[in-house]
């Protein structure tokens, strides 16, 4: 018996025609059967992909009218309020998109919203990968590609924001140029070459336009394609659970299950972005007016993803600026404008390799970590998130000061202190929470879970009955292998050098000792699950409950 529908003749014809030329039937079927594990957090990267597609489509539409020219013109268009105002052709053509092209306003807002959501979903996706250790071998290269995509996405956003040549967008370019000038020795050259002369000149928008619509999207497209090909080849990581292992991936097959789910999700993402663009105004350039280098409004805010740079520029003090032989080194611009972003992106790129070096873990990992089982990594991540978050808030310190009637300068002092203290507190708190959760996991694994049932013992004592966890829970809890992943040698050498002063060969030299110390720091507080077997704990409260277990087991 078969209820399978025959493929339509036309489709079979096309399929055969292609297969005769590429020999695709076997690989085709294999790829249709590709398995994708299920978890809500795996959809974050999908959001990024879908918003990128939306950006490409809407971006092409906008280029049909946008004129990337800084030539001066006097506005005499449909938007009455700016009639007679001097502006660049870039700004004029953006007004045209808004007020003369039907749907132009909507598509511009979709483009802007999609950009904000693109970067936001990249960040969320990246945090998911970081906290679950999904960047570990064999996926380090895909992590690096991801960091590249994130960095380029921010630049792409900044350049796109600069194109309409409205007041805030021009001010963003001005700040970019100010940061460039701070580079020792080459700063003025870099600025002169990029701007084709002094600020603002007439070249910067055509050049940013080329970067924004051709070069960077081209590179992004290539990186995203590589990201997916690697993902496809290596297969997706999964969370621990019954049946899932380092050797076997469990999930929905590409065709038909995943294809339809992902397709539906694409339409949801698109619908949300279009809904926001229809009802929540974003970047109303007609209200800001054209850029002039001499005017500004207070309360100016960049797009959200540039907020952390704005914040670091605001709170970094000028105390460290110095001169060498009369030449200025403006640390107060150089560090917040270039060094801090460099540390954030560089640190992200380096982390997988740093962690691998510290732990000596060269094994392949397909099952993702639960964040609690890598407490130091999780704590470092939280410290990073806190640092970024504080800088981001500091980028809105004038708004905070105004909204909450706090002295502007006090917000600056506050953020200067919290930018340093906050990450430290974040690290300690996150690590303690992880360790606490580990202890609870150990407890649950050994004794089962608290059932909420109170029993009175013959002696008169009241106890709470513990019940056995489900097989799946046990599986998840037993996925913790945190301690033994560390190179034993590295640990031993620390202990040795601390106990009798004799150094192990591996620990000789500064690098070896540093590595041993870091390995010790990375693992010392971990709760060991070694030798623990599920439901073997002899708990004081277990007595009465234990019998019940046996009864339950018997009834199966």
């Amino acid at each position: 018996m078969s209820t399978t529908t025959q493929a339509p003749k036309a489709l079979r014809g096309v399929g055969n025609w292609i297969d005769d030329r590429f020999h695709l039937a076997k690989t085709g079927e294999k790829n249709l059967r590709k398995v994708f594990p299920n978890h809500w957090s795996f959809m974050l990267g999908e959001i990024a992909l879908y918003s990128f597609i939306i950006l490409l489509v809407t971006g092409v539409f906008l280029t049909l009218w946008f004129n990337p020219s800084m030539a001066h013109t006097t506005y005499e268009g449909s938007y009455q309020r700016l009639n007679g105002v001097q502006m660049s052709e870039a700004y004029e053509s953006t007004l045209r998109i808004d007020f003369d092209v039907r749907g132009g306003f909507l598509v511009r807002q979709i483009h802007h919203w999609a950009a904000l959501i693109f970067v936001a979903s990249l960040v969320a996706h990246m945090l998911r990968v970081f906290f679950t250790g999904a960047f570990r071998k064999p996926r380090e290269i895909n992590w690096l590609i991801g960091v590249g995509i994130f960095t380029l996405a921010m630049l792409e956003g900044l350049f796109g924001y600069s194109l309409p040549d409205d007041l805030p967008s021009g001010m963003g370019v001005r700040i970019l140029q100010g940061v460039m000038l701070s580079l020792p020795v080459v700063g003025t050259y870099v600025s002169m070459f990029l701007f084709g002369g002094e600020f603002p000149g007439e070249d910067i928008i055509p050049r940013l336009y080329m970067l924004h619509i051709l070069l960077i999207p081209g590179i992004l497209l290539a990186l995203i394609a590589a990201h997916f090909m690697i993902l496809w080849h290596q297969k997706h990581t999964q969370y621990p659970g019954t049946g899932r292992s380092e050797k076997k991936v469990v999930g929905t097959p590409m065709f038909p299950g995943f294809a339809v789910k992902a397709g539906g999700f694409f339409f949801f993402v698109f619908a949300v972005i279009v809904g926001l663009s229809a009802f929540v105004q974003i970047n109303p350039i007609h209200l800001f007016g054209p850029f002039t280098p001499t005017a500004i409004t207070s309360g100016l805010q960049p797009d959200w993803y540039m907020g952390f740079m704005e914040g670091s520029l605001r709170i970094f003090p000028n105390w460290l600026d110095f001169q060498v032989f009369g030449y200025a080194v403006p640390i107060g611009v150089l560090v917040p404008g270039l060094v801090i972003p460099g540390i954030i992106f560089g640190g992200l790129a380096a982390w997988p390799f740093l962690e691998q070096w510290i732990t000596g873990d060269k094994r392949v990992h397909n099952v993702a970590d639960r964040p609690r089982n890598a407490p130091v990594r999780t704590a470092v991540g939280v410290a990073g998130v806190v640092f970024y978050g504080i800088l981001w808030l500091a980028g809105a310190n004038d708004i905070l000061s105004h909204t909450f009637s706090i002295s502007l300068y006090w917000t600056t002092y506050f953020f200067r202190v919290t930018a340093i203290v906050g990450p430290i507190i974040g690290f300690i708190v996150a690590k303690r929470i992880c360790l606490g959760l580990q202890r609870r996991d150990l407890e649950t694994l050994e004794h089962g879970y608290e059932s909420g049932t109170i029993q009175q013992l013959p002696s008169g004592e009241f106890i709470e009955v513990h019940k056995e966890s489900s097989q799946d829970t046990v599986h998840v809890l037993e996925s913790k292998t945190a301690v033994d992943r560390i190179d034993d040698e590295a640990i031993a050498s620390v202990e040795e050098s601390e106990s009798d002063g004799v150094e192990a060969p591996a620990a000789r030299g500064l690098k070896g000792r540093l590595r041993a110390k870091l390995a010790h720091w990375y693992t010392k507080d971990n709760v060991s699950f070694e030798g623990v077997e599920a439901h073997t704990g002899h708990h004081l409260h277990h007595g009465a409950g234990h019998e019940e277990h046996e009864e339950m087991a018997g009834s199966h």
Partner: protein, 377 residues
């Protein structure tokens, strides 16, 4: 409402328990098409029955209706999008035109609302389809062992090196080195080719249009400024140099400055009560003022935003971008924030007709601090 409800009774699991492979699921009993005693053999789907948990026919029929309803809604919303498009013409085709910001807003909402609904409808329909019509799959496949066997690796390396030897690349250093050498200039060429993207900085950033005797005009109106315009204590004017067109020497029209010149020459003229100047001002700085009127560059020395906010009580100039604060009564020294250099001061005086004039260029380089900003020419 979802398949999470068919959880096992010990409840401690997080809901993924229903994904256990090979364990009986309540749905599985209804999964297989009727008329077969051996579901494994007769299962019509693409995947083995133990990995696909199908929904009952009844459930699928209900879901089909729901999904189709969503697709119909999406279709109608899509039609609505065209209606919205033609309901709001652009300017010149009569009212209501999108050139009016308010009407444009309505047009935006109508177009965006219908489009969002159409997209949402398709997404919702597909989700209902995937969740209630398609079986729930828990398929497993092995992760591939990614590293090759040492045999394969060895064979590859051996082949690669033997071929390299055969080509002569490894054995003929002269060939190899001259080839690499020949690449060097080509590698540098793209960098050299970028040279003409802009002029060399020279001392361009250190000089502006301002020179001795140049009059000042109000930004925007281009009206020449007299001393009397700043008679009131605390008065502030944003000013440019007066660059005359034809007719010259005060008879000509004030020209619009290029944005480049605006960005460098713009000054804040501030009237400060005579006694309020701080003792920190040098004698030279006091000489650069005129009857309590002092001129500073408006471009912040931090990263170049206009330091546009002036508080007359405290004589403080604040840049709204990064909150660098300068004391106008004390040579525009930095009193707070990330800027390091004071705002450059412009020496001013009056000509014989009572107009304010510059008496030279700025005291220092204008704008963000750069490498040789504080170095003499």
């Amino acid at each position: 409402m979802t398949d999470k409800s068919k959880n096992n009774d010990n409840g401690a699991s997080d809901g993924s328990a229903d994904r256990v492979i090979g364990t009986p699921s309540p749905a599985e009993g209804t999964a297989i098409v009727a008329g077969s005693d051996d579901p494994g053999a007769e299962h019509p789907g693409a995947y083995p029955p133990e990995e696909t948990h199908a929904h009952s026919e009844e459930q699928q029929r209900r879901a089909e209706k729901t999904a189709s309803m969503w697709f119909l809604i999406a279709f109608l919303a899509g039609i609505g999008f065209f209606v919205a498009y033609f309901a709001f013409p652009p300017n010149g085709e009569g009212e209501p035109a999108i050139a009016d910001p308010q009407i444009g807003q309505y047009s935006n909402m109508a177009l965006g609302g219908t489009l969002a609904l159409a997209l949402f409808g398709i997404g919702a329909g597909m989700t209902v389809w995937a969740r209630w019509i398609m079986p729930h799959y828990e398929v497993s496949t092995p992760y591939d062992d990614l590293s090759s066997s040492s045999e394969e690796k060895g064979s590859f390396g051996d082949f690669f090196m033997r071929s390299a030897d055969e080509s002569g690349f490894t054995k003929r250093p002269l060939l190899r080195r001259t080839l690499l050498l020949s690449m060097v200039p080509l590698g540098l060429a793209p960098i050299v080719l970028l040279r003409d993207t802009g002029p060399l900085p020279g001392d361009k950033l250190k000089h502006t249009l301002w020179e001795d005797g140049l009059r000042m005009v109000v930004e925007g109106t281009n009206k020449p400024i007299k001393e009397a315009d700043l008679a009131e204590d605390g008065a502030m004017i944003t000013a440019f140099p007066l660059v005359e067109g034809e007719g010259g020497e005060h008879g000509g029209e004030a020209q619009h400055l290029s944005l480049n010149d605006q960005a460098k020459t713009v000054v804040l003229l501030i009237k400060i009560p005579e006694g309020d100047f701080k003792p920190g001002m040098t004698e030279q700085q006091m000489n650069w003022t005129h009857n309590g009127i002092v001129a500073y560059s408006k471009i912040c020395t931090h990263v170049g935003c206009p330091a546009a906010l002036y508080e007359r009580g405290s004589h403080r100039i604040l840049c709204p971008c990064h909150q660098s604060t300068f004391d106008a009564a004390d040579g525009a020294k930095v009193v707070f924030g990330p800027a390091h250099r004071p705002l450059p001061q412009l020496p001013i005086g009056v000509d014989d007709e009572g107009y304010l004039i510059a008496k030279g260029d700025f005291s220092e380089a204008v704008g963000p601090t750069f490498w040789d900003a504080e170095k003499g020419d």
